[in-house]
Symmetry: C2
Subunit: 285 residues, 2 copies
């Protein structure tokens, strides 16, 4: 596997492309707005393609890292899309967090055309993308996973084969569902503590290493205390993920409640804040 | 400080008394049901008292570790209670998890009688009690905290002065509130994953070290997977704590939802299971 078409070159895609280049792959890129990539193209010298189809045609592998499920649909199934252009035997890897049912649809259509399709969403954010330390959760045929492993290893560190097509997306959904409950618990604990007049530093020292401890508490509670709402992960993207999870059926009452609270914040124009801004819902800000 | 009256000698109290004895304190005990303590009294040789008042009279410090807020009220304010019997200048330390408002009431009544009152609930469970590694969250006068520190150090490791009377209880409540959201997130993630046909071991390997990770996930998700509901912390006691937290006012919608789910399980006779049994609510068991 030598040549890669990379579609969707945003905050995550740019460092991922750089890591692929560094690992020796020949990368061509396509993204919705070329003008945003002037510096990136000059710096890296990667080949620009005018359409997703052109980016996919003839490549050994095609990676997509776009925004919403409808963007994924567009680049795979739309006019000048990937599926109609990819060469037989190519690997198509969707690394966007998207609907598991969409992953299944792409795989079915790909299989009919002699293509190998994997769903491989990530966690670890732009820092993980930069440092090639992403967690990558992969669904699809196990042989296809094995064939693409070196490519994943160029971008991530914790790379797990989760099961058949869709299992990568399902794993990412489970990850987001756990985060939803946890961050709400952290917010409610902090809000309660603030009302009770506790010192938040002492609170964190007292409870973060025990049974109440979590990544969310360690990393986001200090930001909530400092009212630092700069995005590590955009609130609007978290809402997208939670809605996908809910659309799979099965009652998840806490997720539903948390998603509704985030929805209120987004409606008030806070979609570009980080997920820790949930504390503002409680504080009534 | 040499002599201690210890009231409430259950699963937590027994190892705490042993650790105090080991540290050189002279301990007298009172508990509701003497017959449960036959072996313990023989083994340790501690002095038995027939009432809370007798246990408190003349001691340098009195520690209470009972069950519910009404038990705390009874041993402090009831007939043959602590407040009427303790000698002037004694330290009264309630280590039960109870209502912060009750802590304030005990402190006010104690102060009027020339007593020093601290609220000092713990976390760490019976294992922490045995190994003298409890986290102890202390509220009250800071000088009283300093005077009792050696005593706390005989029983715990992470000992934090949280602020004025009630601050220990408030900190413990914040701890329980954070746990409620977190364990619900873990249950919903696992329930979702089971529905989606994921392998739970791979799921845990994929998500437990990242942004979704928590003590609850690491320690209780494996038990949920194995359907091991043996209590580390009784579900019925968690309900007690959540109800106290809710009674302080302030909207905590996720806590409320989680408490209601646990209430359903308790109503079905599962109160003596561990908190990880929340997964049974989702599985419809």
């Amino acid at each position: 596997m030598k040549t890669i078409g990379f579609i969707g070159v945003g905050v995550m895609g740019r460092p991922m492309v750089k890591n692929l280049l560094q690992a020796g792959y020949a990368v061509a890129v396509y993204s919705r707005t070329k003008s945003k990539l002037t510096d990136f193209l000059a710096e890296t010298g990667v080949q620009w393609c005018d359409t997703a189809a052109e980016c996919a045609a003839g490549r050994d592998a095609v990676i997509t890292m776009v925004g919403y499920p409808q963007d994924v649909e567009q680049v795979y199934f739309g006019e000048n899309g990937i599926l109609s252009a990819a060469r037989e035997g190519a690997y198509l890897i969707d690394m966007t967090t998207t609907d598991p049912k969409l992953a299944v649809r792409i795989a079915a259509e790909g299989k009919a055309r002699g293509l190998h399709v994997l769903d491989a969403p990530v966690s670890g954010g732009d820092t993980g993308a930069k440092n090639a330390t992403l967690s990558i959760m992969v669904g699809g045929e196990e042989a296809d996973f094995a064939a693409c492993l070196p490519l994943f290893q160029a971008m991530g560190r914790q790379i797990v084969y989760e099961g058949p097509v869709g299992a990568g997306q399902h794993t990412k959904m489970a990850n987001q569902i756990a985060i939803a409950g946890t961050i709400a618990g952290v917010c409610e604990a902090l809000f309660y503590a603030e009302r009770g007049g506790l010192d938040p530093e002492r609170l964190l020292a007292s409870i973060s290493k025990g049974a109440a401890g979590s990544w969310q508490m360690e990393n986001l509670m200090p930001k909530m205390v400092k009212e630092d709402y700069a995005p590590g992960f955009f609130l609007k993207h978290f809402i997208k993920d939670m809605k996908i999870a809910q659309a799979q059926g099965g009652a998840l009452p806490v997720l539903e409640r948390v998603c509704a609270m985030y929805g209120d914040l987004e409606a008030e124009g806070m979609g570009d804040l980080g997920t820790q801004a949930l504390i503002r819902y409680y504080r009534g800000e």
